[in-house]
């Protein structure tokens, strides 16, 4: 799971791939359709798709002849979850800092008492 997250971040580090992913949130698309807005070859787009595929961000149907590219939403959720956890920890830390700042206001001296807890 950890390795997958790293691959997801790495895959999304490229602006063209981010764009392709954004496009796929509207629905499945073929390689040709994905290549249209860019001044790059279908081959180059295929290369980008391979990176997205290896990160687990997209899959391609083997059956259908058009082989449409499909966005895997759960992988996005995984990434979002990890970042949200990190954010929550930062927020908890800053709420403690809020409390400290409120105390500093009350003390308005330069001799804060040292905490002796534990």
């Amino acid at each position: 799971m950890a390795d997958q997250l790293s691959r997801v971040f790495a895959a999304l580090a490229d602006p063209t791939r981010r764009d392709m992913v954004a496009r796929l949130t509207d629905g499945d698309a073929t390689v040709g359709e994905l290549a249209e807005p860019y001044a790059v070859s279908v081959q180059a787009v295929s290369k980008h798709l391979k990176v997205l595929e290896e990160a687990g961000l997209v899959t391609r149907s083997r059956e259908a002849q058009r082989r449409p590219v499909h966005l895997e939403a759960e992988v996005f959720d995984l990434m979002t979850k990890w970042i949200e956890r990190y954010r929550q920890r930062a927020e908890e830390r800053y709420q403690r800092l809020d409390a400290l700042l409120a105390e500093l206001d009350e003390e308005h001296t330069d001799t804060p008492m040292k905490g002796t807890a534990s």
Partner: protein, 166 residues
């Protein structure tokens, strides 16, 4: 209200994992002056009071908050002790630049730039930029939050088992 430098308020921490460079941005507004925020980041006694999770104890081991100085602190609960350290590169009332590393992964060193922006109405905006040397390293930092959170969860289960609530 319209006199502030921006309409956006970060009453809660906002985070962005930068897609283009291996960095994490955090923004947070505080009811306090830039000077107070600066003191909370540079006075070791004050820093120890807010940096660690509530159920852990932070003890400052080394602290020299000056240009070229360094810090090290121990974050512990019961038997578990984690050490963090770094160097202060720039220590200025509106800006602190420092390195930050967890000794458990000593090669993952983040370069942190903290800025304190006076919003003009008794509030100050903190922007913390943590720049890592690779996406892998950045993602390890992001994951560390998850791992500690998971450990907290297990510890909570331990407590519930101990006091009979499970």
């Amino acid at each position: 209200m319209s006199t502030t430098s921006t309409d956006t308020r970060y009453d809660q921490a906002a985070i962005e994992a930068d897609p283009a460079i291996p960095a994490i941005h955090i923004w947070r507004d505080f009811a306090g002056t830039p000077d107070q925020l600066f003191r909370a980041h540079t006075d070791p006694d004050l820093y120890a009071r807010w940096i660690g999770p509530a159920d852990r104890t932070a003890v400052i081991d080394r602290w020299d908050a000056t240009d070229g100085g360094a810090f090290r602190f121990l974050d512990s609960r019961d038997e578990d002790q984690q050490a963090f350290r770094g160097c202060f590169h720039t220590v200025r009332p509106d800006r602190i630049v420092q390195t930050f590393t967890w000794e458990g992964m000593p090669d993952d060193v983040a370069l942190e730039t903290l800025t304190f922006e006076d919003l003009g109405d008794g509030h100050t905006r903190l922007h913390a930029l943590s720049l890592c040397d690779s996406f892998e390293s950045r993602d390890a930092w992001l994951r560390s939050g998850m791992e500690i959170g998971v450990n907290d969860g297990y510890a909570q289960i331990d407590r519930m088992l101990a006091d009979g609530s499970l």
